[in-house]
């Protein structure tokens, strides 16, 4: 088989063990964790250092070959297209060193390819913690988390809709191959210890960027003390009591200080019409702190709960599984997951939630056996709510796949038009949002991209950009 034109050059940079271009090897990099179509790169390289990444980017510029960076490959908004059969997929998972745990400054600096779960496991013995993602933490890389999902969220994020405020700074290779550092490292004598830079906070260019402005090679995150005391709880509400359940999570969510590290209103959705389960996980540095939180929670729930709310043991069992050991989500046996997800302000979350439920009932009529409405969740995150509606289908059933994707497209548009905001974008998800962008904003984005990446090397064709 003929090699990719840049095969030898890439072997020179990263070593031949870390370059692959056979048709099956590149095919294995063609999708994310969604049902969206395959986009096959031309070659895959697994660099080991920022310098190697920089050389790869320079090489790509020289030959005008697009680059698609890849972390854990667990985005679910559609894999970036690059240029099929030609792009260089830069697999960042070889760069997985934990570079510095600074317990005094309470920062941790890691390479972009470290997974969230590994970081958590390495910090835990020191009694420390960094905000990452709830799931799939075994695969999501810190670089992917920063670029792909605005810093991630879901894990101990009481008070935060996303972890982005806990991102101190990044080291990144720009589209021209230059290596930069943001935050306090804009003073070359300083460590990376604070987000503010000399001038504007350009770290924001990378957060949620999906890699269109460069490749992140290092990330510094704030550190927190691990809260060893944890407990989960659950309350169930009858299906028709959604408004009451929502009132409970609003009251719980507005409480100061925040009570939970995780709180979800979960149900199997409008088709199954099972009970709503309010699942929560509270944590504390001490048992007393945890008990105080649990008592307050019980009081608020009692004040808002209707007489037919109860606390079933099986719900608590599920909550324990899901929230305490919660890295294994969602259940994989149901098939491929297609998700409609939105961050919503408190004042219209319920409205969006109900509208999406109706849409699902309408759209799935006659498809109930092939596209499962696999649950809807309303995560309480700080002052917002994160809504997610999952659909499951068998990937072996192409019609069901198309149906699931089309329902999710419709749902995404509806949610956005009603004022929701998508946190997981990538190709298809990003295109829907970009189509609604005010022209002045999209022109600005286009101009920025053109100025930074004149050869359009970095993840082209995202957000309706060229």
């Amino acid at each position: 088989m003929a090699h990719h034109p840049l095969y030898s050059d890439l072997c020179q940079i990263a070593g031949s063990k870390y370059v692959a271009d056979s048709d099956f090897a590149v095919w294995a990099y063609a999708k994310d964790s969604s049902a969206y179509p395959a986009r096959v790169p031309g070659i895959v390289v697994r660099p080991n250092t920022a310098e190697e990444v920089s050389e790869i980017v320079k090489l790509a510029n020289q030959h005008k070959v697009p680059i698609v960076p890849r972390g854990g490959g667990t985005q679910f908004g559609g894999w970036p297209p690059g240029e099929p059969g030609k792009s260089i997929c830069v697999d960042m998972t070889r760069m997985r060193r934990i570079l510095d745990v600074n317990e005094l400054n309470k920062t941790v600096t890691v390479e972009a390819g470290v997974t969230c779960a590994e970081l958590e496991a390495r910090l835990l013995p020191k009694g420390l913690y960094a905000h990452t993602v709830f799931s799939p933490a075994d695969s999501v890389t810190i670089g992917g988390m920063v670029c792909g999902v605005f810093g991630g969220g879901g894990q101990m994020f009481a008070g935060l809709a996303s972890n982005w405020p806990t991102i101190v700074g990044v080291k990144a290779v720009l589209p021209n191959g230059e290596v930069i550092e943001t935050g306090t490292r804009t003073n070359p004598h300083a460590k990376m210890f604070f987000r503010s830079a000399v001038g504007p906070d350009l770290a924001g260019l990378f957060i949620g960027s999906m890699g269109i402005f460069g490749i992140i090679t290092e990330v510094t995150l704030d550190l927190f003390y691990w809260q060893p005391h944890r407990e989960v709880g659950a309350v169930a509400y009858k299906y028709e009591r959604l408004d009451d359940a929502y009132q409970a999570i609003v009251k719980l969510g507005m409480h100061e200080p925040k009570l939970f590290s995780l709180c979800i209103l979960f149900g199997l959705g409008p088709l199954a019409q099972t009970d709503w389960q309010l699942l929560y996980r509270a944590q504390g540095h001490s048992r007393e702190e945890l008990d105080r939180k649990l008592e307050t929670t019980a009081r608020i729930i009692e004040d808002t709960a209707p007489p037919d709310a109860w606390q079933p043991a099986d719900a608590v069992g599920y909550a324990t599984e899901f929230l305490l050991h919660g890295h294994d989500f969602p259940p994989h046996t149901l098939g491929m997951w297609t998700i409609m997800e939105f961050l919503c302000p408190r004042d219209n979350t319920l409205e969006i939630f109900k509208a999406l439920s109706e849409l699902i009932v309408e759209e799935l009529r006659g498809w109930e056996d092939r596209v499962l409405s696999g649950g809807c969740s309303m995560f309480m995150c700080g002052e917002q709510h994160y809504l997610s509606f999952g659909l499951y289908h068998k990937e072996s059933d192409p019609e069901a796949r198309e149906k699931a994707l089309s329902v999710s497209q419709k749902g995404n548009i509806l949610g956005l038009e009603m004022g929701g905001f998508k946190l997981v974008l990538n190709k298809e998800g990003g295109d829907i949002c970009a189509a609604m962008m005010p022209p002045a904003y999209s022109n600005w984005l286009r101009a920025l991209k053109k100025a930074m990446d004149p050869n359009n090397i970095m993840n082209p064709h995202m957000l309706l950009l060229p």
Partner: protein
Amino acid sequence: MNTTGVIANSELERIREMAYACTRCGACREKYSGDMTHTPAFRVCPVREHNGGFEHHCARGKLQIAQGILEGRCAYSPELIDLIYSDPDCKLCTWVCNALPVLDPPMVWRAMRQDIVAAGSGPPPPLKEIDTRVREQHNVFGARTDRRAKWAQGLDLPGRGELLYFAGCYASYPQAGIARSTVAILRQAGLDPAYLADGEWCCGVAQFHDGSTALAEQAAKHNVELIASSGAKRVVTSCAECYKSLKLEYPDILGELPFEVVHVSEILADMLGAGKISLKAGLPERRVTFHDPCHLGRYCKVYEPPRAVIGAIPGVELVEMKRHRDYAWCCGNGAELVSSMQPELASEIARGRMEEAGETGAQALITACPRCVLSLERAARGMKVYDLTVAVARSMGLEV
């Protein structure tokens, strides 16, 4: 595209649903257990870990490729065939995959190998050679059939009896000490195991995995018929791979067997519990660790009996490796696949496992499979590697 023959994909089609059941979560690349302080698993796939770390080496990538084959978007090139064969089927990906039982990834590569064999495009030469030896000499080494029972010379093992010892190729040829230890222990407990001698054939483990299922079936039929005609009600084996063949594969193709199959670790644990044997002396090494063979552990779920036996050796402290029981890392062999296709990769995997053993501070490693002993011994760098039966015979003061 460099394609090889016309491959009908009939086996892959048969398990199509399974090939498509992957949700691409990536847990089969690395996985930290929810309860990290108890069983952290770290890197999952030994092939990915020691081969450049690409997607196509791990289950997620290979399942994607299987789908590509079904959709006509990937073709079986010689390189792809090599890839599909360079996998020990260690099943760690199955264990971490939340889609179990809908998805058992190695079953997908086994189906692909069957299709490759059916089309005459495989197995690749190193495995074809093993198949030939098994077909002609009934052992994986191509050693003389009439030497198979040499280890039993002077033991006067009966040909018939209620309990039968199935030695397997490794304990019959290069690791006779394991076979002799097993028999010595059983005899000490008052049991006189029957033995098929030269009539015993290789259990067919390599053929079950390399897609040469007709040959595997031949071995299964032969062994089952002979065992049944020996009057055995119970078969004991000291080999994890033979155990898995007899326990899982044979009933799968032949239906319920007329005898029970046990691994020697199970019978040892029972005999200890019933006071039929007693372990008297310690080992020269005080701190030992245990390596769970994939075929004994993840395939057959035998985890506690070998540990109970080790725990009964006086003065010996068992320390677990980071990855143990369901999470145990492969020894690198796996049904002869990796050791024949990519010997260097097999050694690297074994070295990785021995490093992990070293991290426990253990002075010796005990395992319960002659094939694992061989792989790990070669990578041991000074650490003593025992088969469970050898350690037990030693502790019982038995001359073997």
